[in-house]
Assembly symmetry: C2
Homo-oligomer: 456 residues x 2
């Protein structure tokens, strides 16, 4: 048997958690409700029924602390779960830091990210409700891949609108979605009224998650047996992702260690919420006291430069109004490489938790992220997706601060996916063609003028 450093904690699949954690009942106050965009009254289950099956709607508004993971979903999860928790010994050594760096790696999944954690139960509940086809948007392509994989497990059709900038930069993602049996359209597309309206204004439109959502929602709303699936933002999505944090708690317990700082990247918030909510539960109960920090791209800083207000989840204004940190539903971020973080808003639940002061937020420019990612790849052997490079950059900042101060902090990072299908972004970085965002971009405030008027 081998001695030496321990690099990872793997759990047997018999140790996989069997419940998701709902943080809502543990918060000091509940998050504000979604509003119907016409009446401005709290939206009820019926308002969501054209888009989602009832079991997911009930999870969306649930106040139960724990929700059982169906056995059929557990069975699919075990194709890749539990995911490993790594100790980054080699990165620590390269940095010369006394900090102990851990990362929870979700790149082992079929889509190569955390996204199947919610795709699988979403398709499961839709299949139970007799739905024939699911539509969705995708940014970098991780979510579209995850949903196509999940649809293949339950025999549903899957139709994906991919943000134009990512569609053009990452052709392999489309092939991967098609390999799992899905269909992909470049968004904005000629297939929907909302897509055509965008193309009329700008024929070479790079797209945005907000526009792609409008297109997918528009198609789903037209047929009874077609529903829509969202890969982040909503409560039930973050709920499904909590299996990440529940596993990480079991793994830290095996190490007899607790994190002092947890950093994760935030686009819509599901990766971050999934890892951190179970730790936040422990923190609110006084059992540990980690600093929990969200990291967003400098080009799409909804938490650090947006406002906390009611806004639409999509660009065309088809969704209920949600109170969240937003840059305005009309905001179109630069086509940066972390396509999964190009969303104008932030999960309402996570926004509420941020307002409660339970988490921190920061933003990082993309060349710093890729410098961190290359250092990570050369030491730890994993090429990260562009999204978690933000978390790694923040993690390295923290580790270097520990080097300065001599503190032996325990840092936990969410490494939510690999970058095997994002290598064009590494090519841009390594060749010196990647540029940083303008942190004073005037567009960060322009789109706020168009927020819907709501007396909250």
């Amino acid at each position: 048997m081998a001695d030496g450093l321990r690099h990872k904690v793997v759990l047997d699949e018999s140790e996989m958690p069997t419940q998701w954690y709902n943080i809502v009942p543990d918060l000091p106050s509940p998050p504000p409700p979604a509003l119907h965009p016409g009446t401005l009254q709290p939206a009820g289950p019926d308002d969501f029924a054209p888009l989602f099956p009832m079991e997911l709607i009930l999870q969306e508004v649930s106040t139960e602390r724990y929700i059982d993971i169906p056995e059929d979903v557990q069975d699919v999860y075990k194709l890749w779960r539990p995911s490993p928790l790594y100790r980054a010994h080699r990165l620590e050594k390269a940095l010369g830091t006394p900090a102990r760096i851990y990362y929870k790696y979700e790149g082992v999944s079929p889509a190569g990210s955390h996204k199947p954690n919610t795709a699988v139960p979403q398709v499961y509940y839709n299949a139970k409700a007799g739905v024939r086809k699911l539509t969705t948007e995708t940014g970098a392509g991780q979510w579209g891949t995850a949903l196509a994989f999940a649809c293949a497990q339950y025999g549903l059709e899957c139709e994906v609108w991919q943000v134009g900038a990512s569609f053009d930069q990452k052709p392999y993602r489309r092939t991967m979605i098609e390999t799992f049996g899905g269909t992909v359209h470049r968004s904005p597309s000629e297939l929907t009224a909302s897509g055509r309206a965008q193309l009329a204004e700008r024929p070479d439109h790079p797209g945005s998650l907000g526009i792609a959502i409008s297109e997918a929602v528009e198609v789903a709303a037209q047929s009874d047996d077609v529903k829509y699936a969202l890969g982040s933002v909503l409560n039930h999505v973050l709920l499904h992702q909590t299996i990440i944090g529940e596993e990480a708690l079991l793994q830290f317990a095996k190490l007899d260690e607790t994190p002092d700082v947890i950093v994760g990247c935030t686009g819509g918030g599901s990766n971050f919420g999934g890892l951190t909510f179970p730790f936040l539960r422990e923190k609110m109960a006084g059992r540990m006291s980690p600093t929990i920090r969200a990291v967003e791209p400098a080009s799409c800083p909804s938490l650090t430069k947006g406002v906390y207000a009611y806004d639409f989840g999509d660009t065309a204004g088809l969704t209920p109004l949600m109170k969240m940190h937003t840059l305005g539903h009309g905001f179109v971020p630069d086509p940066i490489h972390a396509g999964g973080l190009r969303y104008h808003g932030m999960s309402p639940l996570l926004s509420h938790i941020y307002e409660l002061g339970l988490i921190e937020a920061m933003s990082v420019p993309q060349t710093e992220c890729f410098a961190a990612a290359v250092q990570f790849a050369r030491t730890e052997g994993i090429v990260p997706a562009p999204e978690p490079t933000h978390a790694l950059a923040a993690c390295i900042r923290e580790a270097l601060a520990c080097k300065e101060s001599g503190e032996e902090k325990v840092i936990l990072t969410a490494l939510c996916g690999h970058g095997h299908l994002d290598l064009a972004s590494y090519e841009a970085y390594l060749s010196g063609r990647m540029v940083d965002e303008n942190p004073d971009d005037a567009r960060f405030t322009e789109a706020l003028a168009d927020l819907p008027k709501v007396d909250a």
Copy 2:
């Protein structure tokens, strides 16, 4: 705790084997020696010294049954090892077979394949010997990626000649090698005499592994502190890969199960030898009796259509002569998508074992392979590299034969890598542009006329 089907057996890193297995002393007769190409006398350690450090040369000719894995190598292995053994419940169900299908998955490594298992020790021994730079060839790019990753662990430079056809089809592989700090050239290149000679004949030459080996060997032979590393074929490479089979034996023991049939793809033979040699030891000792079957592409069938003869390992004739199954060192296979299997020869050790009747061989056309791969991806969630699609196709043939006969055979397949960087080949398949090889290709015999004359 979750009940239900068991999908995988993971080992803790403390259970990782600490020795490689050398099959040579257990064989009924030793493999024929390599010959010096000038004298035709058995090549001694000194003949290999311009290319390899002495510790690897001694492993190449070792008759010790077990060789300790250095602790420093074990430490790097633990970044991804032990690798999981999966039971393919969902594929079995889709096939309707009573067979139990297992696959040992090497795609969890930094390069996404089994290649780092030998890249890491090779670089380790070179670093110990004071070598500054390693040169190598790569086909699909898996080996070049593995060597670049390993060089990053020990601070060596890495220069890679990639087979032209793969270089053109798979641009992301080049970026991945560069992300790990390596340099990549398209082969044949203008940088070497052997490359220039090929380009003079055919400016758009698609390249071959044999040509790329000539280029890398030529550059390494010119400097004392530059050596060459080979990703397959040689005894020491297959030795390092036996950690795959040793782990699989431990995992089968935990399941109280033994395989009846083992199938793996063969290019140079290292993936196949790595998985099967420990099982072959058990078979020769009478402790189990699996059928062991090598699967090669119909376009490069060295075992099933080649001859067993002394030939050069490279195209230009720079290497020692090795007795092996070969299509002739001048053979240039079609630019099929499984670039890692486009090698004119076969591991001399594996060729010898085939001649001894200890293993079987077959070939499969590539569209059958990709049909198998898509079915596998949609059921098991992993998109295989083009090389192991051959093993999957053979595995599915076996499983369907079991369906016919009602036999509950236990099938073990080597899933030696993921296809995330090979999605262009899936695009070709899904769009219907992929064609099968001509099984009666006249070139299978043409190049045999140029075999070196040796009285063996």
